[in-house]
């Protein structure tokens, strides 16, 4: 137990010290009025705000946002991987849909926010739709690139063994696409948090994004940043979890990343 703690301290000691330093500096900056506290509040003020608003934050808004994030993320990943596979298998699909996918990423949300409301109303789906819009692109690009990258020679070998295109996909290309897919997934996980936040701006009555916007519009920086801190923690947690999954998966499957070469 002791040694475990020591081990963790050793690994995360720097990081923790650094984080503490940043928080301290930040606090000092605000206290010494280098930054007005209504623009960035001091960490202590944020902490107080989190404590005071703990009920609405944790009991009302966090669960709502978390639900949207998970739903949106799941659909993004599922849909993104499916699309990437289809584009990989059928060239015309790629040529038809890839441009559309890119277009979807360059449309400013203000231009289509009424469309979302029109189609999905104020249900959870409008937020999920925004989350998907923001999170699925990295999954598509990374998975598609990963599928194409796979070493050609393994594919050739399997073809001489009479593999069908689908078998080629499942036996060679998907395993080899895993590292790239995971890079995309890590991006998607983080983006889905901001996606849900933005989705809530389109019209919501709960959620950390909704909360943060309301607080922002009444210049209540403490509460605003209380929500932001929760969103960041959520993002980091999800990211950490996916990184862990990635490490396990890639270690188990021995694909490329067999540890860092020192």
């Amino acid at each position: 137990m002791r040694s475990m703690i020591k081990h963790w301290l050793h690994i995360y000691g720097y990081a923790a010290a650094f984080a503490a330093l940043i928080v301290a500096l930040w606090e000092a900056c605000v206290r010494l009025d280098f930054v007005p506290s209504f623009i960035i509040p001091a960490p202590s003020q944020i902490a107080v705000a989190i404590w005071i608003d703990r009920h609405p934050l944790f009991a009302v808004h966090l669960p709502v946002t978390l639900g949207e994030v998970l739903l949106g993320l799941g659909l993004s990943v599922g849909g993104g991987v499916l699309l990437a596979i289809l584009m990989h298998l059928y060239r015309p699909v790629e040529r038809m849909l890839y441009p559309l996918v890119i277009v979807s990423q360059t449309i400013p949300i203000i231009a289509i926010s009424p469309v979302f409301i029109l189609w999905f109303g104020y249900t959870v789906w409008s937020k999920v739709a925004v989350t998907i819009l923001i999170a699925f692109f990295p999954v598509v690009v990374n998975t598609y690139d990963g599928l194409r990258q796979g070493d050609k020679e393994y594919g050739e070998l399997l073809r001489t063994m009479g593999a069908s295109r689908l078998q080629l996909l499942t036996k060679v290309q998907i395993p080899m696409a895993l590292p790239s897919f995971f890079s995309g997934l890590k991006l998607a996980v983080v983006f889905s948090v901001i996606g849900a936040t933005i989705g809530e701006w389109l019209g919501a009555s709960a959620g950390l994004g909704y909360f943060s916007r309301r607080m922002s519009s009444s210049l209540r920086a403490d509460e605003l940043f209380a929500a932001v801190v929760l969103l960041s923690l959520l993002g980091m947690l999800l990211f950490g979890w996916v990184s862990l999954l990635e490490r396990r998966m890639l270690r188990r499957t021995n694909i490329q990343r067999r540890g860092r070469s020192k």
Partner: protein
């Protein structure tokens, strides 16, 4: 409403509460604040239910969305701005104003006290920040010109949604597009005293800041529903005017569990708002055709809209 009584009669012994309520969705102009306390009071006090209505309140993503969505039939009613209703009509969007909530501008020119700017002409050589809404430019142009200044010497900067930081951090010298019942109070709270200059004093028409709008189609089909809605609103507003503390309390309580409002700010806000919402002789919400006429003409004159909008088609009065 007589019609609601009829409905009650038709249903015989059925109690009013059992009868299915007519659902009406209202999209606010922005997140709930003191200006909406009449609405929330009416909901809480059951004034809508009395009229056989059930209100669903929605919030927009952007101040431009309410009009578009009401025109598209996604919501029944929307809170918006008189000028924007006219601009929408100029763009062929079929919306009509039904009632005026705030009868005078809230949008003042704000300048930090002690900045040396006393009247619009002092803006020469200064930077004025405004949110992307083009009417603000027209207002500045109008007041500077009316005050004998040269508008071409004023720098206009679009400050997006960050109105307060723009002024508070000294990025701009003056601000248009901020409300005296919101931005000004907030600035004050953060220690930035401001001088508020009313555009009306410099020839800008005394337009309605906040109106209730519906689509033309909605007005055609559901005018009676909207009338009932407004009856409840009148009662709600009256309640708030008579009991400001309780009226605001309802709003605060409503928001408490999710996004607690700042009581002090909203109190001050309501204090400013109540006189501006009062229609005097006329019932609450009454719209004066002259106001619409004037506003439409002003927009046209200042190039905000390119074609004339027949002002009498832009509104329908729910109360006389």
């Amino acid at each position: 409403g007589c019609s609601s009584k009829e409905a009650n009669k038709n249903n015989g012994e059925a109690a009013a509460g059992d009868e299915p309520l007519r659902k009406v969705s209202v999209m606010l102009d922005w997140y709930p604040n003191a200006v909406h306390s009449g609405l929330y009071a009416a909901i809480e006090q059951g004034y809508f239910a009395e009229q056989g209505l059930q209100i669903e309140v929605q919030m927009p993503a952007d101040t431009n969305d309410p009009l578009r969505l009401v025109a598209a039939g996604k919501v029944d009613l929307a809170l918006s701005y008189q000028m924007q209703v006219l601009m929408a009509r100029a763009e062929g969007i079929p919306v009509q104003s039904l009632a005026a909530l705030v009868r005078h501008p809230l949008n003042y020119l704000l300048v930090p006290t002690g900045s040396g700017i006393q009247s619009p002409k002092d803006l020469e050589g200064k930077t004025v920040g405004y949110p992307s809404i083009p009417t603000n430019e027209a207002i500045i142009q109008a007041i500077v010109t009316a005050d004998g200044g040269d508008f071409s010497k004023v720098t206009m900067t679009d400050v997006g949604w960050d109105l307060i930081p723009a002024l508070a951090t000294g990025q701009v010298d003056a601000l248009i597009g901020g409300y005296i019942n919101h931005e000004r109070i907030l600035l004050e709270k953060e220690g930035h005293e401001t001088l508020a200059i009313n555009p009306v004093d410099y020839g800008v028409p005394d337009f309605y800041e906040l109106v209730l709008a519906a689509s033309e189609e909605g007005v055609g089909n559901d005018l009676d529903v909207y009338k009932k809605f407004w009856q409840a609103m009148i009662k709600g507003q009256q309640y708030v005017a008579e009991h400001p503390q309780e009226g605001l309390g309802i709003l605060l309580a409503h928001e408490k569990s999710e996004s607690p409002l700042d009581e002090e700010i909203e109190e001050k806000s309501l204090e400013i708002l109540l006189p501006l919402m009062d229609a005097g002789e006329r019932p609450f919400g009454y719209q004066d055709p002259a106001s619409w006429q004037e506003a439409a003409q002003w927009l046209l004159d200042h190039g905000v809209i390119q074609q004339a909008v027949p002002s009498d088609e832009a509104f329908v009065n729910l109360v006389e």
